[in-house]
Symmetry: C2
Subunit: 742 residues, 2 copies
């Protein structure tokens, strides 16, 4: 017998119901789903018999040792928390660090007899505990029988045994559950699952064999325990500060950080490795690809979220993400860096926020940013598409790099701001700062990209009418002008440029750039002759709304007279270097005698720029021109930061724990126009949880006052941080510091 087939189109089988493919399973793919949730748990049985029951069933286990109580010794002032540097955490559970002993008290129904009684503490993480994956760890009290975590009895009195447990220094970081198990000849008898016995194990920068060990107590205190930080912005010659409440010890923040890893489906077994955790987190903190924590928005329109300039700390963002399970709107680079910092410090990975002034971006690791001029030396804004960020913030975190050759441990760059073209993925790092300084960019992860951020050249091209272009000036010092971070233990800035680069012009710098080129970085090789007339732009401090004078200076370095046809263009720019509107354009012809200089002065009228303002009110000036005698092109660039009005917070300078204090916040609208839809936020560590007030209008010249009664919760230096935000005026902030005494 033979069958006759029917022809079907190659796209073959029946189409799925609604044009969508059904969810496929992993049945034949892996024997178990990968264990990637720290919130998932597995319950262990209270009674677990060995073998098969005898003719009368299993014997009762009651004749053996029984457990009447387990005390996790989790008091904030107890020795576990203080010895483990976790006493600031606001949590209901024990929090300790790996590679260091902690104590647990077990009470039995009768005195423990070491020779006869066998028990173990069992630590379990995730839904699929396995000894060989480090997700199930029994800890034994006797020397002869030890597993990967050390155990010993540190005290015995009556029925009570105190066990010292030292988690392996490479163990998984997260939330564990603990059981006490009594072993009998017939089976195992366990404590019941009890959430109050859950404990968190964190990274330990104090343990010398931990991958995040940092051998400097002041740095550890700064980069792990400090809750308030300063993030730098503005311009390299007019640095501005932003205070931030990292809040890594606030209630719920640690759980939110673990939720982020769960959400990313990061396998539990990887969570002891700071390289894998930081790489994963750099992807997860932005919402691209993976519905991560924060939505980036640089549009100026923040209607359905919080303006990036309005946040005062990380707590709100992390708790909102963990509770809504939706990305939080909105972030820009310093928000990404600040929340990432909270994540890292919370888990115990030393970290800090750094700011790079004039950061090359989105240019895919090439060492060139292009500015196109026309035949006459005037900037061609349509063809100039690269932008140099006035500043960019990222994080450094401290860890060893066993995956790389020796010498590349220490500070590592990680960056959660979504980069448009970094290897196509919205994540970056960890990249060794040492490797970047030495041009050793062949090692993972994303080193060429970070190298370009601090080392790109700005290349000015002159475009001919036939479309071809010629480089006329190469500025090799503009990008990566300065890298700042907060000083250790102080509210001041620290210049760490030398950790990223050798001094400009040094032989080492040259070697490094050649090394980077060997690894495929493309540089502009041509070296157009330097013009003999300099164009100098002024350094100014200008308040928002102020008219100001702007001088364009021509300095003739030659022994002959020079005539320059020059252009000055002023635009309002985002901090990303993207220009919005040209508010000023001037051309002039200037004659300069030999070895002389000439100034062209002009007044910039605030009315001209005020109408174009975007949130971070910066003005970008580009001057360019052509020297008639030589045909050479000259250029110069300058960012002028407009200083915003300030918020004032008035507080007594000293307070007492649990005693009310009054904080007074005040703001006066300095403009003639009304501010509408104004949000004010205020918070402070261990003093005040984030609070928001809304003012529908603040008329021109008028003031708002907000008085808040706060209750400090613990001794030490503290601070209140506030911002004011509305569509017409962003990035207004203020802060006050004070001391809390006992």
């Amino acid at each position: 017998m033979s069958h006759q087939g029917t022809s079907v189109p190659p796209a073959s089988p029946p189409p799925p119901p609604a044009g969508r493919l059904p969810k496929t399973t992993n049945r034949g793919r892996s024997s178990d789903p990968i264990d990637s949730s720290n919130s998932a748990t597995s319950d262990f049985p209270e009674l677990e018999y060995f073998g098969v029951p005898g003719p009368r069933g299993f014997p009762p286990l009651t004749e053996f040792l029984d457990i009447t109580d387990v005390d996790m010794l989790k008091s904030r002032h107890g020795s576990n928390m203080s010895k483990h540097h976790t006493m600031f955490f606001n949590s209901d559970n024990l929090i300790v660090r790996r590679g260091q002993e902690f104590q647990v008290k077990v009470t039995f129904n009768r005195p423990y007899k070491p020779a006869k009684d066998k028990f173990a503490l069992e630590f379990v993480i995730g839904s699929s505990p396995q000894f060989s994956k480090g997700t199930y760890i029994p800890v034994f009290p006797n020397k002869e029988r030890q597993s990967s975590w050390e155990g010993r009895i540190t005290n015995t009195s009556d029925n009570v045994v105190t066990m010292g447990i030292t988690p392996q220094t490479s163990c998984i970081v997260g939330k564990y559950h603990m059981y006490v198990a009594i072993q009998t000849p017939f089976g195992i008898r366990r404590t019941r699952r009890d959430k109050s016995r859950d404990l968190y194990i964190l990274f330990n920068p104090w343990a010398s064999d931990d991958a995040v060990y940092l051998d400097d107590e002041r740095e550890r205190e700064e980069c792990v325990l400090t809750e308030v930080g300063v993030i730098y912005h503005g311009a390299y010659d007019d640095v501005a500060e932003r205070y931030w409440n990292y809040g890594q010890f606030n209630y719920g923040v640690l759980d939110a950080c673990l939720y982020i890893m769960d959400r990313s489906q990061m396998p539990i077994a990887n969570r002891g490795d700071p390289i894998k955790i930081t790489r994963k987190a750099s992807a997860m903190l932005n919402s691209r690809d993976d519905d991560g924590v924060m939505v980036g928005n640089w549009s100026g329109d923040y209607t359905y979220g919080v303006a990036p300039t309005s946040w005062t700390g990380s707590t709100d963002i992390l708790l909102t993400y963990a509770s809504t399970k939706l990305p939080v709107a909105y972030a820009q680079c310093w928000v990404y860096a600040a929340v990432f910092n909270t994540f890292l410090r919370c888990l115990g990975i030393p970290s800090r926020v750094v700011t790079n002034y004039y950061s090359a971006h989105d240019n895919n690791g090439n060492l060139k940013m292009d500015i196109i001029l026309d035949d006459n030396g005037r900037i061609d804004r349509n063809r100039t598409r690269d932008s140099i960020w006035n500043y960019h913030c990222w994080n450094e975190c401290f860890m060893s790099r066993p995956d790389l050759p020796p010498g590349f441990g220490g500070w590592q760059v990680v960056d959660a701001t979504p980069q448009e073209t970094s290897d196509g993925m919205y994540r970056c790092g960890p990249a060794s700062v040492q490797a970047i300084k030495h041009g050793q960019i062949c090692f993972p992860f994303d080193a060429p990209f970070v190298f370009a951020e601090v080392n790109s050249d700005v290349v000015f091209y002159s475009r001919r009418t036939d479309g071809s272009m010629e480089p006329v000036k190469v500025n090799r010092t503009h990008v990566g002008r300065m890298v700042l971070t907060k000083s250790t233990g102080e509210m001041s800035r620290r210049d760490i440029t030398d950790q990223y680069k050798f001094p400009e012009g040094s032989p080492e710098e040259r070697t490094v750039l050649e090394k980077a080129e060997e690894y495929g970085c493309k540089r502009e090789r041509s070296d157009p002759s330097t013009a003999d007339v300099d164009l100098v732009l002024p350094t100014l401090e200008v308040s928002l709304g102020e008219d100001f004078q702007f001088d364009l200076e021509f300095v003739n370095q030659s022994d002959e007279p020079r005539t320059v046809d020059a252009y000055l263009s002023g635009s309002v720019v985002y901090y990303t270097g993207v220009t919005t509107a040209e508010f000023l354009f001037r051309d002039c012809s200037v004659e300069v005698g030999p070895r002389k200089s000439v100034k062209e002065s002009m007044t910039v009228d605030s009315k001209k720029y005020m109408k174009y303002l975007v949130e971070q009110a910066n003005l970008h000036f580009i001057a360019s021109g052509k020297i008639r005698e030589t045909g050479q092109i000259i250029t110069s660039m300058k960012v002028v930061v407009l200083h915003n009005p300030k918020l004032i917070i008035e507080m007594p300078s000293v307070g007492k724990v649990n005693k009310e204090m009054v904080a007074k916040f005040e703001f006066t609208n300095p403009f003639s126009f009304s501010l509408e839809g104004v949000y004010v936020r205020m918070e402070g560590p261990a003093v005040m949880a984030p609070k928001v007030k809304y003012y529908s209008v603040i008329t021109g010249g008028s003031s708002v006052v907000w008085t808040e009664v706060v209750t400090p919760q613990r001794v030490g230096e503290s601070r209140l941080i506030a911002t004011l935000d509305c569509a017409a005026l962003r990035q207004v902030s203020g802060q006050a510091s004070f001391t809390i005494e006992a």
Copy 2:
């Protein structure tokens, strides 16, 4: 005046309309959207005036040179296509390779006068052409004025000028548009946009300074031009073959490959770099993360798609993806590797599919696969969660690695099969094969992961009743037993294991493993003593549905008698090593005299395993046991591949171009049961496009015959490949080869 604010919850502003965030724009983020679509174009004006019009407007440009015709010389038999090794492409446009001259004929309205007339050919790619990004390239005919692509006049006769153009060897790969532009003192006059002048520029393995240069003509022909390949599967001691029609030259396939890059939003400017392209493609070929080309499915249920075992080539998959813009269902590892191979060969990157037997998977770069035995030496299937794939297919592609130190160019591993735990992303590579062989796994990308796939140890643990485990046997040779690829120029296999590993037991092998450990790979350090009784399992060739005999041999290597308590467990496994059901379990106690061996024979009844069959019918046997005298644990594993019935394709061995030939396909159901819902697919390069037939039922013992009339399109060796697929019987295939004469 003072305003009173209202308190609002910290989650502040009005919630977005339907709980979802509005689409945010990139306005202040980058000055231009990143140009990432090769299908987007920008139209250049036909007339582009310089400066401003005079009092009478612009002068007419008609007095200058005018273009009457442009001939791209795109005939398949013309010198452009044959010199560029692109003559097999079925396309309406010119296809050439970079770094090598091609010719274009321009006809003017009068003879061209080199001294007076100025013209250029302009090549443009993407929507935002820029000279400095390599997306706008003018090419000039005169020596004095040359841009990044060389131009010269190779012939002039009457009004016709033939231009030779040599694209830079690092230029972007993709579809360009070409304009002819005449430059006059008043402006530029251009040809109109004409799609027939679009041309494709590909990688060039024949050009010595191309990053994909491969200095071996036979390898280039195999790895770029060959359309049919063999992919190996089965077991290392019973290798099976699968023929595949890569179809890289079929109509529409090149456009589909460019669409894949567009869909991935890969910036156009990166598309000259084979490292970036292959990395991106390894992510894009699977649908995870990015709605890429193929949906993986290992569930056994392929109701709403095509079973992975049913495909005969890549064309269907790529064309369906490009037209529906939806992921195509379904793929498993060899399908990913085969379609990736088409993508690479189509773009001109030399590539081949390799098969690794016993591939360690999903274990995150650790060098350990765990098998858990109980106290008695019997396998604990609940606790054994790692699976070793019987085989795994990936790709190698050939390129230089300027991003790495010297010595790591050449073959690179890329893998599009979504790995559950590879750095959390569903992509892998390029990883240098040289680097893997030498344990230099500190270099990007994903080298530790590939290293583990070929070098992991299998560790047998004995689990004590208290939950702790002890390694009792370490098998260091099981994983990565053999790596195969197709021979160059022949349909036979080539063992390339030595390209990945030094010989087992050699001093180099030891050094390499130590090097890998330095870079953080975790190995099992313990070395349990080897037992003195060997357990030997037979190597068998078994046909599906056959009963067969299975011998378990105990070889006593000691001088004393031994008693072994042994267990034999037989399971049906997916090729991923995941077991479905245990169809056989036997225990026995065997006494073996000194230096003697004993065989335990058993018959495996086909009824027992047939009911559990999954698509790739493999049986997995694990034998284990404990020696009474010494307490040592012994183990052994074996995969038995069940051989499927074959399809028979009958064809004359010789045919003629454009002359009809008859192909007869025949299959007999060898079973007593009916096969239902049967799909048969057949295709062959330049002979037959993929075709599918459906048979609702093929009763037991009956046959189906499909007669197809085909018309060969070109001279050479060709082949028809067919598969038969239904839920009860998968992976049935057949093929026939024949010669086409002129």
